[in-house]
């Protein structure tokens, strides 16, 4: 791990120069003496690289997805200045360093695998005067009959996804990035989500959603799978190494789900609750046997089970990296909880949309779930050291 020289030299500077350098330097020294965070808090994920972090990165415990609208002052020039500043903030914050001009140094010292990931919405490309550079699948999703979309959870010009294992550093980073965005942007929506706390489950275990289901079994795992399913190979060229993201807020009716037996819950998905194995298999990662029938000739995995529909809908695999949300109960006393569904794919139209259409047409799970928000963003490739996210598009 690293520690800034300023921290180490703080005491010396006070001793040598306290009288000479006056009030400012003295207070800086006093602010720099906090002890290093424990090991887990100091863990970092890279900011610079071919791809943005926060996508292939093993999912952290907490996430904040913030969507901004860009105001009338937004041009390619001003948005470029914005992205340059935000990239600098992110490069520092993810490495446990305060952002430039941030006086709350201590709130940056436990990054705990903080990642900050940027995305551009469909209208972003019009705003910067480069509509021809919009990746083809960076467009609002078509309406599905299951949708009950609310504007307050939908759309947006700029996405900032902040993930980390410590909700304190996630919160601080989210606010720091907002402070550097507000000259040009307003917040459209903020979705905060969670998974298991770091260390409470085996590393790499597939997380559960709030319906108790193991959720995300078929995700890409190898570099080859990420290259073929997630990362764009450059269409358009500036997007090489980027990915598309669909964020959908899925409300779960946990009150009616409570009335369902465990057997029917398993039939709804086609997987066992205990370990996520398909009802035709013995471990989570066994392929489901969709042809298998029981002694009476009835399919073991029901005709309208979620995994049968998902497997037969065409499309191609993509990355899911969702988070749960829990707002307690509504004013009417019903559950207000669900899932921040995310699909990361090189091409949403080819990979995600066919699956989504099939599930929207028929899926037992739809009885208890309702999409209430939907947004699509193009996540640019990562920046190299000294560069910034979006540079290839905005410069």
């Amino acid at each position: 791990m690293t520690i800034s020289r300023r921290q180490l030299l703080g005491g010396a500077a006070l001793g040598l120069g306290g009288a000479a350098v006056g009030v400012g330097a003295t207070s800086a020294v006093a602010a720099s003496t906090a002890a290093p965070a424990p090991a887990q808090g100091r863990e970092t994920e890279p900011f610079f690289g071919r791809h943005q972090s926060g996508i292939q990165t093993p999912a952290q415990a907490y996430a904040a997805f913030a969507a901004y609208d860009l105001g009338s002052d937004a041009t390619r020039e001003t948005v470029g200045r914005l992205m340059r500043l935000l990239s600098d903030d992110a490069a520092r914050l993810t490495q446990g360093e305060p952002a430039l001009a941030d006086l709350d140094h201590e709130l940056s010292m436990s990054p705990a695998r903080l990642t900050i990931t940027f995305g551009f919405g469909p209208n972003f490309f019009n705003i910067i005067g480069r509509p021809d550079q919009r990746p083809a699948s960076c467009a609002p999703l078509p309406a599905f009959r299951i949708d009950a979309l609310q504007q307050e959870w939908s759309g947006g010009d700029l996405l900032i996804q902040v993930c980390g294992d410590d909700p304190m550093s996630v919160s601080h980073a989210r606010r720091m990035l907002w402070k550097d965005s507000r000259f040009l942007a307003t917040q459209r929506w903020l979705q905060k989500g969670f998974l298991d706390a770091r260390g409470s489950q085996d590393t790499g275990a597939t997380p559960r959603n709030l319906m108790g289901q193991v959720d995300g079994t078929v995700n890409p795992k190898t570099m080859e799978q990420f290259d073929s399913r997630v990362w764009s190979d450059g269409s358009p060229q500036w997007f090489d190494g980027g990915t598309m993201l669909a964020v959908r807020r899925i409300a779960m009716n946990l009150d009616t789900w409570d009335a369902v037996s465990r057997a029917d819950r398993e039939n709804t998905i086609g997987r066992r609750l205990s370990d996520g194995a398909p009802l035709t298999g013995s471990t989570e990662f066994d392929a489901p046997d969709l042809a298998k029938v029981d002694a009476r000739g009835v399919p073991v995995i029901s005709d309208f089970a979620h995994i049968r529909r998902a497997h037969t809908g065409g499309g191609a695999p993509f990355l899911r990296r969702g988070y749960n949300y829990d707002q307690g109960v509504t004013a009417k006393g019903t559950s207000d909880a669900g899932h921040i569904f995310t699909a990361y794919a090189a091409d949403l139209t080819k990979q995600f949309l066919p699956v989504q259409q099939t599930l929207a047409d028929q899926d037992l799970l739809n009885i208890w779930t309702t999409p209430i928000g939907s947004a699509v963003f193009a996540l640019p490739p990562g920046a190299s050291e000294g560069g910034w996210v979006g540079q290839g598009l905005l410069e």
């Binding site: 800034s4 500077a13 400012g24 800086a28 000259f183």
Partner: protein, 181 residues
């Protein structure tokens, strides 16, 4: 276990250039310099994390971390910048029980082998007589003239900050303005 890593602090391409006044540099750099060798002189001070508070008014403040890498104290005698006609070195000082901003007599001393942090509420570089606004993300060039004869130039990036609003509250009024969230 610990590495002394500076590079993480200079994410924005802060351009630090050392410019020598030839005559002074020769007299100040020891016998080796007399040889006429054009090997690069090492900078006596390194500047990182430089920023300027955004402004559309007559004044603003510039902040940075300044590292004196030499074994001798160095004084910043004066400063200049590309966004204003006048540049002064200021300090916050307690006078008659009140914190006030004033020009720093004798310049800013950089103790040997130490870093000095110019930050809101402390020593800072004051830009007065602005020639135009400084917007978020703008870069201005700042030049420091040092007591050892060197000048050091660097770029400072414009950032919004509610802190250190010296131009409005530097006198006897230290209450916060209305920009707080």
């Amino acid at each position: 276990m610990f590495t002394f890593q500076r590079v993480t602090r200079a994410r924005l391409p802060v351009l630090a250039a050392v410019v020598f006044s030839a005559a002074i540099a020769l007299s100040g750099c020891g016998s080796d310099s007399e040889s006429g060798s054009d090997s690069a002189e090492s900078a006596a001070v390194e500047v990182t994390d430089a920023w300027v508070r955004t402004s559309d008014g007559p004044m603003t403040a510039i902040y940075a971390v300044i590292d004196n890498t030499t074994d001798a104290d160095i004084t910043i005698d004066s400063a200049a910048n590309t966004a204003s006609s006048i540049t002064e070195l200021h300090e916050m000082a307690m006078i008659d029980g009140e914190m006030v901003m004033q020009e720093k007599a004798g310049g800013v001393v950089l103790p040997a082998n130490s870093e000095v942090v110019l930050q809101p509420g402390g020593d800072h570089i004051m830009a007065m007589g602005m020639t135009g606004p400084v917007q978020v993300g703008d870069e201005i060039e700042v030049t420091l003239t040092l007591s050892n004869g060197q000048t050091v130039s660097f770029m400072a990036v414009g950032k919004e900050s509610a802190a250190g609003d010296e131009e409005y509250h530097g006198g006897d009024d230290m209450e916060m303005n209305g920009d707080m969230e």
